[in-house]
Symmetry: C2
Subunit: 538 residues, 2 copies
């Protein structure tokens, strides 16, 4: 991954031609602005401070070649991939760079590293793909002799499939495509496709309670994980791979979502399914967001939802039509068509079905009946195919927008169906009023993308002209939105995790005593407090 943004060098997703006009008109952006990242040589990296004794211990744990403190390695592990992370690193601020990057090759080496670090008071930041958008992988040195980034990319060999039980034991450091490719070779799939899929890892998904774009169908990662192996400073925490158990509180559910503060997830046993042999992605239109939400609710509660189910609100639909790949499709379909049905300025929905030919067709037909009864108008497969082609593109586009001095950020929540409309309104309003109050009017868009019988997620994207102090502007918007989320009965995060950025709202969700419980667990397995300090716990 390039040090200043998303993807590998040379791979970019250019802004659509219509974008500049739209940014100028709606956000007051100056089309001539270019805020490129500084040259790599200009990046300011603090001196590495790993004590010699610690380095020796680490080298004997993993081999000297796997303890790195070259500039490239340290900058690459300085931040995750959130908007404020990118603002800082693009400006040349790598002050959070780890003192070293350590690459263990086994759970045993991880244990040896943790033992060395506990003794030497070195903070350890588990690092999978480094794609956290909540500050989850940023090293925090406060009070420690040094901080190291524990890069798990070498923990990536094991893919052990039980075809009969449809489970797979996976090494934590496997990247999405590598894991999925190995599974497909055996005819199965995990079906887990977060937007970060190309650069995120199995261990990262488990550590952050990730949800993929198709999780309505395949299940969230917390529903897919059957067992974990987690190495903590106090020893190994392993849970038994059984389909269900009543043996007390779920320790697996304590490790899932633990974001590296308890230990290092080295392995997960996950549920897999036969790989799909047929796909059908299609577009639908609803006259209003409320109507679409209601149709989605009825479909989900009837057990008839697709694997991928997305419903954009009016603003997101408008922007998608204007800028996105499906814009041309919408034009082809004709605005007149939608106008005739009262859907002009309506809401675009995408449904995706995967499986075998017959199952896809049966499910598609059933869902179509439910959506039509709920006021939906079918737009055919083109918008679906367009969405599917671009499903991983957003983080690349973000780099282009940052280049043009645009604030672009996403945040997400989930709530009950009965509260969904109110929360959608409150968070949108908080973002709009906060940003326009600062003189940078915002474009705020939202979609529903994960359906549950009792509720759904809301995923917001907002754009504004970047202020000179981009971080202050971001912070104000983030606080306003997050306050609105917790006041409005949502969860502070449906699938991005807590990390550094959501900590101040965790108490609103879990209560002080809940946080005390997590602290007690941490103190027991990490008495020196070296595991990912400054994350998750307020």
């Amino acid at each position: 991954m390039r040090w200043w943004g998303w993807g590998e060098d040379g791979h970019a997703v250019p802004l659509p031609p219509a974008a500049e006009g739209l940014l100028r008109e709606e956000l007051g952006a100056d089309p001539s602005v270019r805020r490129s990242p500084v040259a790599f040589e200009k990046v300011s990296v603090p001196e590495a401070r790993l004590p010699d004794a610690a380095r020796e211990r680490l080298a004997s744990a993993v081999g000297a070649a796997s303890v790195r403190d070259d500039r490239e390695s340290r900058v690459a592990h300085a931040v995750g991939r959130s908007y404020p992370d990118l603002v800082r690193i693009r400006s040349g601020d790598a002050s959070s760079a780890p003192d070293a990057v350590v690459l263990p090759a086994s759970a045993e080496q991880v244990a040896a590293v943790l033992a060395a670090c506990a003794e030497q008071r070195v903070a350890v930041v588990p690092f999978g793909g480094g794609t956290s958008v909540v500050g989850g992988v940023e090293p925090v040195r406060d009070g420690f002799a040094a901080a190291l980034s524990l890069d798990l990319s070498r923990l990536s060999s094991t893919v052990e499939i039980d075809r009969t039980s449809l489970t797979a034991r996976l090494d934590a450091g496997l990247l999405g495509p590598a894991a999925e490719l190995r599974l497909r070779e055996e005819g199965v799939t995990l079906g887990h496709f977060p937007q970060s899929f190309e650069f995120s890892t199995v261990g990262g998904w488990v550590a952050t309670r990730s949800a993929g774009q198709a999780s309505t169908g395949y299940g969230r990662i917390d529903e897919l994980v059957e067992a974990v192996r987690c190495v903590t400073p106090a020893g190994e925490l392993g849970t038994r791979a059984v389909p269900a158990s009543a043996a007390g509180p779920s320790l697996r559910e304590l490790v899932v979502g633990s974001e590296g503060v308890l230990g290092v997830i080295c392995e997960a046993t996950v549920r897999v399914r036969p790989a799909p042999r047929a796909w059908r992605y299609e577009g639908w239109s609803f006259a209003t967001f409320a109507e679409g939400c209601d149709a989605f609710r009825v479909m989900e509660q009837a057990g008839g939802a697709a694997d991928v189910n997305r419903l954009s609100d009016k603003d997101e639909t408008r922007l998608t039509m204007a800028l996105g790949a499906s814009g041309s499709t919408a034009e082809k379909l004709g605005k007149r068509f939608l106008r005739m049905r009262g859907h002009e300025g309506g809401c675009l929905a995408i449904l995706g079905f995967e499986g075998d030919e017959e199952g896809v067709e049966d499910r598609r037909r059933r869902a179509a009946g439910l959506l039509r009864a709920g006021g939906g108008v079918a737009l055919g497969h083109r918008p679906g195919d367009a969405w599917r082609r671009g499903r991983f593109a957003a983080p690349y586009l973000r780099d282009e927008l940052l280049d043009r001095g645009i604030l672009v950020e996403t945040l997400e929540t989930a709530t009950s169906w009965s509260n969904l409309g109110a929360l959608h309104g409150a968070v949108g309003e908080a973002l709009r009023s906060t940003l326009s109050g600062r003189g940078t009017p915002a474009l705020v868009m939202c979609h529903v993308s994960h359906l549950y019988p009792s509720g759904a997620s809301l995923y917001f994207t907002f754009l504004a002209r970047q202020e000179e102090d981009a971080l202050a502007q971001w912070r104000a918007a983030k606080i306003a939105a997050s306050d609105a989320i917790v006041a409005g009965g949502g969860t502070i995060t449906h699938h991005h995790a807590i990390g550094r950025d959501h900590r101040r709202w965790l108490a609103a969700e879990s209560g002080e005593l809940g946080i005390e419980l997590l602290r007690a667990a941490k103190e027991r397995v990490d008495p020196a407090g070296i595991m990912n300090p400054g994350k998750l716990l307020p």
Copy 2:
């Protein structure tokens, strides 16, 4: 519930006529033996030792009338409903009776009781329906000034339904029928029907990770609980009712299954569904248990399982045919019919579908196709209806068997599909060899009753002639079976919980560090250690 057994006085399920002959022939039981419970006046109850100061504090917390130490109340809360519990209480041993039974009427009163008990060093045993079969509600006085049973039956008024989101907030003390009746009045169901349904409570289900007979369809209680409200000595632990969250480890999953050792679950928000309007229960036959398991696996992995799915092994099928209500049905169907298809001495399966007419018919047809392809022979609805009529009868029958000096016990586990046959064999063999080694040959039966994509549960019932020292005999069998379960890769309990009886096997499942984590959590919320001592944690 009567003090010495299951159900209310006057309600009994008589042994089928063929039973005595079978018990004599297969177990060497003496048909003239009667081991009736002692008269209530003969029950030995220790003197109540609640210190006056504690009594005053409790009376001011809940009112004097709700602090009871009459003989009836204390005996009724002395034990749960496991086989060893019943052996002891029927013999007149109520040595574990609590010093008092306290009946709070609100979560606030629960908090006041816990504060008083922490101060006075009084152990607190949360008591829902008292149906634990693992010693979960037995008061343990060791090292405490006294022990009280906290009877939650008055926490039973709230049933607050969100029809749009299909959730319901339920008071913990609600008994199964009361909760379900209130939900049905609003057109919804929880669909949770453990065998103890008539006498177990919402809070008890949550505290023990209960699974109902229809949990393959409706979900286990841990899948149905969206939020909990748990009062601990250190304060209240509440989780937010959202459909899904990535806000760190799941505190809900720490409370679910906590068996009263962290605090008192006062309320749960659960997912509900539209109440079924159609039912279809039916019987199937498989030539072998392995063939039936395989057909069930294929059906479940194809997403085509019924709501209730049960497969009896040969011994359970034989006993069911000989004794059960479905015996006559099988006769009607004709043994010749099954013999012709090579199913004589085969395995009976029961499938139950619930929902609307169309859905039931569609699902039934699909499942039938899958089962037939797997070698199943349809037996029609009669065996299904018979099973459904008798679904809550087993605990009543147990009383009859105890009367005749028969050891009758159940235990259960779950494992992966690929390990299911081996575990079935190992546990059965452990029970058979242990009991025949003691000169009391056993009838060991088993069924699969909860299906998951990755595996299934195994539920064993075993019968033998009771030894003079019935508890020693039971203990030997229990240890042999449990050792076989953990050695064979199963969970020590799929839905009965840990309680007192499974503690020694928890480390095999959760590891020493896992147990340390639970201890750390307990110490934080219950520093005085008053909450259900002697349970769950080894």
